[in-house]
């Protein structure tokens, strides 16, 4: 057995360590996910003015600040007792801000953080011996996705065309957020009662213009089939099977045109999404399309035991058609992307916030908590010698806690949201993989879900900007600090990386007693719980082959590219994931229980 450790896993937010035990066949037999930093973030809100939360808490994360500040605003809406009266146009403005952040964050992940692994020399070694097709595929991968300052065998590799083109688009999207959010990162407009800025007609015009420019990028680089055609035949398809059939037929057409010439370029119709949709998967690429090779990303990052995993969404984006106000409990169907829990065997259940628990059994916190939140207390280890990351699965090995839903580890993020929303294409892919003996969740479906969600939200964004938002509408209801006396608030929302919840309680002076975020990466990067069940990323690593394309060549422990793919497929955010909670207050959130 060989220990293969990636530390730090770069091209993510924050500092993450993935430690694995690998056998002689190159298969991972054990894994630990360790978050390496402790900041003690939400403690800074205790005894403070709760209104500061939306601006302070977003500074947990510079990649998805909008999500944190809007989740805080949701929690504060309830704390101030105004959630049911927030004006519709404030809800739409929040949606627009969040949608732009989703698109920017997903694009960053796809092109800047995740994409460069496709230019890993391991793929050259596997693909180029396959002849002209392999050569052509490798040429596309390195030509599109190579990052800056990149070298292979001492030779500088030019920056990938898609990578390079994505940077100004990211900037453009951030600019669009700034138009209605003041600045990015750390936009400033989230506040209990509504939105601090009332976007005017000129702003709407600007947003529309930004939208068109971003869509130019999409049609030039990402998706060569017209965007409307794609949405119509996937998202709006009458069944999951029809959505998958459309994509497979579209790809078949491309393969037929390209197979003789070995031309897989964008000019030949292969957008980045089409390219990955075909070559990323063994089932789609080889079995259905008859391609001679694929990256086999559908064979890594899956779950072997459906009873030990679920997919969770709290529900994100308000529905403008519901008018003013919203339900803080996010019942099924109440949000544009609905809340829900999908089991490991793909059955949908309604979400119930009271079923969330957190375990510290394998994290560096004093284990003094009992079952009652009113008495629970959690404190970080203060002995430097006790903070060790290399002591194996039985030890404490991370700053991340282990959240569970009804006792089950949950994957959160685009795949979970698309499954909960029963999105036809992603659901269809998941069902197809299940049927053919693959894990429904895998690196391929995780990335396809992220791409598809970006498309869906872009589609909805245009409606929010041009149809739903009324520049003459009301943007906020009045609030006063006294409205937050002896109160509690729960903010349930979706960040690009997944389910995000904030819980706040206040005393008789309207000061914060407790403030607790439970964030997406806490779920995905979770360690083992008290029962020894590994977290989602750990489960996804165990059983995976470490080298490219199903260990196609000799085992190479020094370039475990599949560990990198699996880890990064969750779009980890470690500064979000690690936080400490303090439930010493008598009004501690009832929905949370420390086990």
């Amino acid at each position: 057995m060989v220990n293969v450790t990636v530390d730090p896993l770069t091209r993510i937010e924050g500092h993450l360590r993935l430690s694995t035990e690998v056998n002689a066949e190159g298969v991972i037999t054990d894994a630990q996910s360790s978050c390496l930093m402790f900041r003690g973030f939400e403690r800074i809100l205790q005894n403070q003015d709760p209104r500061d939360a939306a601006l302070l808490v977003q500074r947990i994360c510079g990649v998805c600040p909008t999500s944190h500040s809007l989740t805080a605003a949701n929690a504060l809406d309830q704390l101030f007792g105004v959630a049911d009266t927030i004006p519709k146009d404030a809800l739409v403005a929040r949606n627009i801000n969040q949608a732009l952040n989703f698109i920017a964050s997903h694009a960053t992940h796809i092109y800047i953080l995740w994409g460069p692994d496709l230019a890993n020399p391991a793929y050259r070694d596997v693909l180029t011996p396959l002849g002209e097709t392999g050569n052509a595929v490798w040429k596309e991968m390195v030509g599109r996705f190579a990052p800056i300052s990149y070298k292979i065998d001492g030779q500088s590799v030019p920056v990938g065309s898609s990578y390079l083109a994505a940077i100004p688009e990211k900037k453009r999207l951030q600019e669009a957020i700034a138009v209605i959010g003041g600045k990015m990162p750390h936009q400033v407009t989230s506040y209990p009662g509504g939105y601090t800025y009332k976007p005017n007609v000129a702003d709407i015009g600007k947003l529309s213009s930004y939208y068109l420019q971003v869509m130019d990028f999409v049609s030039n680089y990402t998706l060569k089939v017209p965007f409307e055609t794609w949405i119509e035949n996937t998202y709006n398809a009458s069944s999951p099977q029809k959505a998958v059939s459309f994509v497979v037929e579209h790809l078949k057409g491309l393969v037929e045109k390209s197979v003789a010439s070995n031309d897989f370029s964008r000019e030949a119709g292969w957008g980045d999404a089409e390219f990955y949709a075909a070559f990323g998967s063994e089932l789609v690429g080889e079995t259905l399309l008859g391609l001679p090779a694929s990256l086999k990303h559908d064979k890594i990052g899956g779950y072997s035991d459906p009873s030990k995993i679920a997919f969770l969404s709290y529900g994100g984006f308000y529905k403008p058609e519901n008018g003013d106000g919203y339900d803080p409990n996010s019942p099924a169907g109440d949000r544009f992307l609905t809340s829900g829990v999908v089991t490991g065997s793909l059955e949908y259940q309604n979400f119930d916030a009271s079923k969330i628990t957190e375990s510290v059994a394998h994290a560096f916190y004093d284990d003094t908590a009992d079952l009652h939140p009113s008495k629970g207390e959690t404190n970080p280890f203060t002995d430097p010698e006790a903070i060790r990351f290399d002591q194996g699965s039985e030890s404490r090995y991370t700053w991340n806690k282990a959240p569970r839903y009804d006792g089950t580890p949950c994957e959160v993020g685009p795949l979970a949201r698309m499954l909960a929303a029963k999105e036809p294409l992603v659901t269809g892919l998941a069902l197809a993989f299940n049927e053919k003996g693959y894990s429904a969740a895998n690196v391929y479906t995780r990335m396809m879900a992220r791409i598809q969600e970006t498309a869906i939200i872009a589609n909805e964004l245009l409606k929010w900007v041009t149809v739903d938002y009324d520049p003459n509408g009301k943007i906020a209801v009045d609030t006063d600090l006294s409205m937050a006396k002896n109160s509690e608030g729960m903010g349930l929302w979706e960040a690009p990386r997944g389910a995000l919840g904030h819980w706040v309680s206040t005393d008789s002076n309207s000061k914060v007693i407790t403030y607790q975020p439970v964030v997406p990466s806490t779920w995905n990067l979770s360690p083992r719980d008290g029962a020894g069940v590994p977290g989602p990323l750990e489960q996804a690593l165990i059983g995976a082959k470490i080298n490219a394309v199903d260990n196609a060549l000799d085992i190479n422990y020094t370039n475990p590219v599949n560990i990198l793919h699996i880890g990064r497929s969750y779009d980890p955010c470690v500064s979000c994931a690690v936080h400490t909670i303090d439930l010493t207050g008598k009004n501690a959130p009832r929905t949370l229980r420390i086990v």
Partner: protein, 379 residues
Amino acid sequence: MKNLIRTLDSLDFLKLDRRTFMKAVGVLGATTFLGTYKTEIASALEFAETKIIWLHGAECTGCSESILNGGNPDIVQAISKLNVNIAYHETLLAQQGLFVDGEPVNTSELNSELLVDELIEEGNYILVVEGAIANGPDGSGRYCVIGNRTFKELFAKAATRANAILAVGTCATYGGIACADSAVSQVTDYRGVAFTKEDRSKGMLTELGIHKPVINIPGCPAHPDWILLTVGAVILGKIKIPEDLETILDQYGRPKVFFPTDHTVHENCPRRGYYDRGEFDEQIGGEKCLWKLGCKAPYSHADCAIRKWNGSVSMCTQAGSPCIACVEPGFPDSSRPFYVEAEDKGVLLGANIDTLSKAAVGAATVVAGVHAVRRMKGE
């Protein structure tokens, strides 16, 4: 100045030759350290490659996100025109830390831990630090560990051999959000590079006994222009380190050109007209002055209101949110509570409110502004 920025904004730097580009950057960056380069640039069009090692401590990656939003210059232009090599940056680089049975493996082309050690060994680099540095628990630094070593250890190693050190963002400069007062802040003991809050003696360099000059570029996040123009000035030799630092930096290590001692965000605030007329919003969503909603712009020394953010499209107060003085060494504690007007706090940033009000209004301010302050103060 304002018109100039607008004009330059509309230029496409990629279409400019290097000479015009540098000229534009110089003018935009304004007087103090980019102003005099023109003749030198004309004769020196080629720059030697400058390596940057960009380290991430306890941070949110917001400053890295911010630099990708740069417009004057943008990051790609800076890299190509100034011949910058971002040799190490955890969010951007291809590499990652790779260990087999505890030993680093492969080469620096794939292993970031080998890469950073090689780069430090080679020397001749600018060190950029994003994020605060954990000193806790008990001075061990183990609250932030990367690649089997504490961030404190990595920082010490990189700082020792750096040609120049830039602390970027309020966390790296003064500790920022990581140093905010809380029940655990004494235990975590986060530090800025050269300062912790206003205290230079608590900076991590002092703690480590390393004596190196540092340029502080605070902000939560730091504005991309502030970062890239400063990097550009260092590369151009417009800032001689250490001899120029005393004149171009303020007492908290900030370039005065971006963080002027005698200028606050308030002076060019888009809502300034309302202030001068004494018209104030008391609920969010309006368009008047935000003073009564807690705006700290009169105490915030930065050029945000002139430069604005994200391609100059907006800024905090323009979007209806009070300035929270995120460039000041005491942030966030000195600005909290954000939504309570500064006068009600009595003391802000260690200074008496009355003095600050006068300073904020400034000698050149219209009489109406003085009246407005008096009206607010009930005089």
